[in-house]
Amino acid sequence: MNTAINNKTSETISFWYDPDKRSILYQIGAACLFAFVAWYLISNTMANLERQSIATGFGFLNKEAAFEIGESLIEYSAADRYARALSVGFLNTLLVSFIGIFLTVILGTFLGVARLSKNWLINKCAAGYIELFQDIPILLQLFFWYAFFYEMLPSPRAALNPINGLFLCNRGLIFGIPQAHPVYKYMAIAVLIAVIIIFLLKKWAQKRQDLTGKAFPVFFTSIILIIGLPFVCWLFGGAPMDMSVPVLKGFNFKGGLTISPEFAALLLGLVLYTAAFVAEVVRAGIQAVSKGQTEAAMAIGLKPGQLLNLIILPQALRVIIPPLTSQMLNLTKNSSLAVAIGYPDFVSVAGTAINQTGQAIEGVMLIMIVYLIFSLSTSAFMNWYNKKMVIVER
């Protein structure tokens, strides 16, 4: 029966009017057009590269980089290979993105809550901040903060000293840090152990509550664990109190930790700009939870802490997390503007490599691949999260 109908359709409809066959034709046409354009561009490129005698391939990664990089998380010198120079840039991008995201989420949440405040003044201040920082290009803000550090701050000799041990001058932000001591390594391990214990404790407490109905004060125990364990570790390590305090020697500071003006300007610009967007996301998320939810929770006798943890946050976060991750990704992508103010992030290092080797195609490809990895892993996370968080409907 079925075949009969099919036969009939293919007989009555001529080839050109059969949508299925036409769609195959369109697709072949599109693929051919694409292949032709690609062939044309590639052949032009090959001819141009040969004429200008530019090398191809990623062999240059093994050559000596022969340029210095201002700041680096790993050891690096001009004698190292391009591959190492690029990984320095990659780590710098990661560093500024991680710190930036952390600070942005804090500032953004704060502003988002302030935007909903019943206090008129705070509300309007937050609104003004959000409007102002959203409407000025991030690059202009970065230039402004860069100029702020280099032009408006005094020289090290006249450095601003708002808090004891913290100096602000045109060489950056310099502050005291604890002197290196082996005990700090153990303290870090202690924090890790505390996190694992808290995780297990939470599971156990949940199980016990499900079985017996008795609640366990997980939050307070967690705080005690996460502060207490490293503290005990520190006491056992002999309680080292030595600080490495910055001291003015000659024209610059010695000791302490220096945050370069480039890094500080980049971080400040990115955080202030992105926080304005995050604030809007947070505000929308909180407003998305209807008032009835709060009232219902209060009616069944939940405490304010439980109300926030069990009712408001799970619903608000479902709305907040997707746009929040895309803002985090935006911050990471915007960190590529570091190249404009001279902070050696990945794009900046790759740009130098392009200038030196002339291998523009490979350089731009590397930049694109690195950022694609960031965004693809973010969207993988988002898919996982959305699947986990999807509302179970009856």
Binding site: S23, Y26, Q27, I28, A30, A31, F34, L41, N44, T45, A47, N48, L49, R51, S117, K118, N119, W120, L121, I122, C125, E131, L132, Q134, D135, I136, P137, I138, L139, L140, F143, F144, A147, F148, E151, M152, K333, N334, S336, L337, V339, A340, V347, G351, I354, A360, I361, G363, V364, I367, M368, Y371, L372, F374, S375, L376
Partner: protein, 363 residues
């Protein structure tokens, strides 16, 4: 007993003086609880100690005239703007014929102003846009009608910023619609191309595309053919914006009721008729507000062309700042162009909010 009597006699008791009028408003909005009172006091003191010195710096101690001696005063040096505004706003456009870009910008702004009102959105406005864009092009480029020709290389400052954003969006929008339709298409090959393109472009920063336009793109062209740097950057911006427009339009297409497609099918409309007459007019209307957001980001993103050395508003400002006479007055110069960007973006985002309210049909 007393109360009932009053109620019967309908004596209207006014609320206490402390809960109405200005004192009531202040009480309710600034001092409603001890916590709010503390916050209000903190904010007021912060504003007092930051705004006052700033106003003092910006307005009272400042120098405004082009020939003022800024190095001697503590205040802001707005002289950097008054003596260099021609360079900052128009780059290296010949200074004796600045009336041409000014007229062009005036034309653009008045058209934008008229287009704000949706009652005027008709074919006539569309044609006037096309004609005006041609007139603007002639005014800027010259070379005919007795106008002195000006090389595109010399277009700078706000002209370049507006050029990149206006042409960027007008070209990116149709491209983005096509990409969005391609992404929704049932043909696997075309769908793959579109998904690949959109995700690739949205995954990378604009600066990598601009790098590509400045260093890789020349390699793509056959020997002897070269394209102007501004045009190359324009292509990069169009390619970049199109991917974002595509995602916005896709949101609109997904929001369409399935019944609309079925109704079009049952009327016997083919794919192009369905899209042109039924789907796109509705879908594009839904996505007007997010499109304005894309326009705002595209406008702000044009400032990135500084990095590949084009003389947009930001670069001309930096050129001025690199002159020894004006070195060290970055704050004033950057504040000036920040105001320009802010005013433009503020109007656009306000407009978008207004549209959102108007177009909200409650569906």
């Amino acid at each position: 007993m007393e109360l009932t009597k009053k109620n019967k006699g309908k004596v209207i008791v006014k609320p206490p003086i402390s809960s109405i009028g200005i004192p009531g408003w202040i009480r309710e909005n600034l001092f409603s609880s001890p916590f709010n009172t503390v916050l209000t006091i903190i904010i007021v003191s912060i504003l007092w100690f930051s705004i006052l010195p700033f106003l003092n710096w910006a307005l009272i101690d400042s120098s405004w005239l082009p020939d003022a001696n800024c190095r001697e005063s503590d205040g802001a040096c707005w002289s950097i703007i008054s003596s260099n505004y021609k360079i900052i706003l128009f780059g290296f456009y010949p200074q004796d014929i600045l009336w041409r870009p000014i007229t062009a910008i005036f034309l653009l702004v008045s058209l934008l102003f008229i287009s704000r009102n949706r009652n005027y959105w008709n074919a006539f406005l569309g044609y006037s846009w096309i004609i005006s864009l041609v007139i603007m092009g002639i005014l800027l480029k010259g070379g005919i009608l007795g106008l002195e020709a000006v090389d595109i290389e010399r277009w700078g400052g706000i002209i370049l910023t507006l050029l990149l954003s206006v042409f960027g969006l007008t070209a990116a929008y149709p491209l983005g619609v096509i990409l969005a339709l391609g992404r929704q298409s049932k043909m696997p090959v075309i769908k793959t191309f579109c998904v690949f393109y959109i995700e690739l472009i949205r995954g990378v920063p604009l600066i990598s595309l601009l790098f590509m336009s400045s260093v890789v793109f020349p390699l793509f062209l056959p020997e002897g053919v070269s394209i102007n740097a501004i045009l190359r950057a324009q292509i990069a911006i169009i390619m970049f914006t199109a991917a974002y427009v595509a995602e916005v339009v896709r949101g609109g297409l997904q929001g369409m009721n399935k019944g609309q497609f079925e109704a079009a099918d049952s009327l016997g409309l083919n794919y192009f008729q369905t899209m042109r007459l039924i789907i796109l007019p509705q879908a594009l209307k839904i996505v007007i507000p997010p499109s304005v957001s894309v326009l705002i980001s595209a406008f702000k993103d044009t400032s990135l062309v500084v990095i590949i050395g084009l003389y947009d508003l930001l670069k001309t400002t930096q050129t001025t700042l690199s002159e020894p006479k004006w070195m060290g007055f970055s704050a004033e110069a950057y504040i000036f162009i920040a105001i320009i960007y802010f005013v433009c973006c503020f109007f656009m985002s306000n407009y978008s909010r207004k549209l959102e309210k108007e177009l909200d049909t409650g569906l």
